[in-house]
């Protein structure tokens, strides 16, 4: 059978979201970022927010998010995305502003900006990809790195006496009066992907309704940093990450 006979509308099972650009992503094969990007692009388009959405990209693996999703973007300094988003949202209250941050950006260098933007109840969406490691810089420890987890800066495994405890920043955000919706999800199965998409949609709805800050944490894999195959990384995440970072809504008001 000729290939061109196969490529036809009735055989289509999947199509690229219209807001996702025709470029090769720089993410490693197996990385969760690509899936989260796709969901963000789908949600924005489906909600008709293309002309009023501004994204704030972080420093970390997602620094180039602005090259992949076809909305306006501001690239923030490391950790400062919530401060940048605060001004973008306050000065353009009709717009919808989201940050897209990793564990270093949100829970290490940007902790102050994260907590205070959420505490002020800025009407923004904060998307937090937590893969428990610094991918961009070559696999160093993150605040969310698990006890015993090996990274470039914890070559013998994270030790509580030396490095402290894994930081559950999302739990912290859930206790703040400024947040209206805090949830922790994953994208490692089709069901989880669908669930996360629904959560993102809710978060964007909250921003439009000016209900306060919404936080969507996506517990993710970094198979390169973890030095595992994508499949093994998914399994490792289920067995090790989920007990520490259990999935589900932490707050929904």
């Amino acid at each position: 059978m000729d290939i061109n006979e196969i490529i036809c509308e009735e055989n289509k099972v999947y199509s690229k979201p219209e807001l996702l650009d025709e470029v090769h992503m720089h993410y490693c094969p197996g990385c969760s970022h690509g899936v989260v990007h796709k969901l963000v692009a789908e949600v924005i388009a489906e909600m008709g927010l293309t002309d009023k959405t501004v994204g704030v990209s972080p420093v970390g693996c997602a620094v180039f998010a602005y090259n992949y999703i076809d909305v306006d973007w501001v690239e923030a300094a490391h950790g400062r995305a919530p401060a940048v988003a605060t001004a973008l949202s306050r000065l353009w209250p009709e717009n919808v502003v989201f940050t897209y941050q990793g564990d270093g950006d949100m829970s290490a260098i940007g902790t102050a900006e994260t907590i205070h933007a959420a505490n002020r109840g800025e009407n923004i969406v904060m998307i937090f990809v937590n893969n428990a490691i610094y991918g961009m810089t070559g696999g160093q420890m993150a605040p969310t790195t698990l006890v015993g987890q090996k990274t470039a800066t914890t070559p013998y495994g994270r030790r509580v006496d030396l490095n402290g405890h894994p930081l559950e920043i999302t739990n912290l955000m859930a206790i703040l009066d400024g947040t209206c919706y805090v949830t922790r999800q994953s994208v490692h199965t089709p069901a989880a992907v669908r669930k996360t998409k629904a959560c993102l949609k809710k978060a964007f709805e909250n921003a439009i309704a000016k209900k306060g800050t919404s936080v969507v944490e996506v517990v993710s894999t970094c198979n390169s940093g973890w030095k595992m195959s994508p499949e093994k990384a998914n399994k490792w995440m289920e067995e090790n990450m989920f007990p520490k970072y259990p999935l589900g809504d932490l707050k929904n008001k």
């Binding site: 076809d70 501001v74 923030a76 401060a83 001004a87 000065l91 353009w92 102050a112």
Partner: protein
């Protein structure tokens, strides 16, 4: 609000001037001796009148990044702080300069280094004009010597920032921040509408209205050949600013035998010393750089022609003097007189220093 004559502190004047200019947003964190800026804005509640956003941030770092975000969306935004706080803002300032964004930053300098003192100083000259943050960039630096100039430079600073898509800084000292003088406040200008912002700043990230191509505001470029081009573009803009925007004031330079060179309120102390010198029959001229960057190099070289010596007076250990020396090379003696740590020299001290270091050297 129409034009109005008032008596107010320099810091209060900044707040009034920002509102009347039609500033869209102020983001700041309290620090002496400039907290009156935020206090006055909160008291005036401009969000009820012009719609200006005023926000007390959690830190100077957050405040400058709010300015970065606001500027990236095309709005006229500003922050203010004093020396230790301005050090914290340097990363954000570098990003704003690199991303070619208009913004206004006020530094009401206090004595340092470190936590230092809350008294007046001019020790952040190097930080303001030579970089401060990382990378090859320049701020347009305006040095006010009167409360009226505090008002005027808010407008001038924003105008230049938007004209060149480059951050501007008002480098004031504690004297001009804390003193009260007569000021004429300009008429209230309406804030630009969102539509006007979109037209004026087609590069801004504020939503892909009417299906336009997306705007990305970033300072990141990993491809070195492109990053060098960006640097060349920045440098070309700096040359343009140097050509068009260098400002300075001269008082009694032509007939003078000696020059006093000072910026900000110290130039006024020098003006008093000049009056006292005239009573003794000593002819002294003053050159006051108004833009510290771009520095009035040629003006100083010209003013120095035929003079017997220059005394540079600063509230620091000798910073601007380097630029004065570069301007006049070694054609005449150039000496420095400075007080530090928050001490303000009296006009008598300035005259005495001129006599000891230059006239009777």
């Amino acid at each position: 609000m129409s034009e109005e004559v008032r008596l107010m502190k320099g810091n209060e004047a900044i707040a009034h001037a920002a509102i009347r200019y039609g500033c869209d947003g102020y983001f700041g964190y309290p620090i002496t001796p400039q907290s009156e800026v935020l206090e006055t804005l909160e008291e005036l509640m401009p969000w009820e009148t012009t719609g200006m956003v005023v926000l007390q941030a959690e830190s100077e770092v957050a405040a400058i990044n709010m300015v970065y975000g606001g500027a990236a969306s095309g709005k006229a935004v500003m922050t203010s702080s004093s020396s230790p706080g301005v050090s914290l803002k340097q990363e954000g300032i570098s990003y704003i300069a690199a991303a070619s964004l208009p913004a206004l930053i006020l530094n009401v300098m206090r004595g340092g280094p470190g936590l230092g003192t809350i008294q007046p100083s001019q020790a952040d000259y190097f930080q303001a004009v030579k970089g401060g943050g990382h990378g090859d960039y320049h701020l347009i630096v305006l040095a006010p010597s009167t409360v009226q100039e505090m008002v005027d430079f808010v407008g001038l600073g924003f105008d230049l920032a938007f004209k060149y898509c480059n951050p501007a800084m008002i480098l004031a000292d504690g004297i001009v921040g804390q003193m009260m003088e007569k000021v004429v406040l300009p008429e209230q200008r309406p804030r630009r509408t969102d539509e006007e912002v979109r037209q004026q700043c087609p590069w801004a990230a504020n939503g892909r209205k009417d299906g336009r191509k997306r705007n990305i505001v970033t300072s990141l470029e990993l491809e070195s050949s492109r990053m060098e081009v960006i640097n060349h573009e920045l440098q070309a803009r700096y040359r343009e600013i140097e050509k068009n925007e260098t400002r300075w004031e001269e008082i009694g330079v032509e007939d003078a035998d000696y020059l006093l060179i000072a910026f900000g309120s110290i130039a006024r102390i020098c003006a008093k010393a000049q009056e006292m010198a005239a009573e003794k029959g000593v002819k002294v001229g003053i050159v006051r750089p108004i833009t510290l960057w771009p520095f009035p190099t040629e003006a100083i070289a010209k003013a120095a022609e035929g003079k017997k010596g220059i005394l540079v007076v600063e509230l620091n250990a000798g910073q601007m003097i380097e630029d004065v020396r570069l301007a006049v090379h070694d054609r005449l003696p150039v000496e420095h007189f400075g007080r530090m740590g928050g001490i303000i020299p009296s006009p008598d001290e300035v005259l005495e220093a001129l006599e000891n270091k230059i006239i009777n050297r």
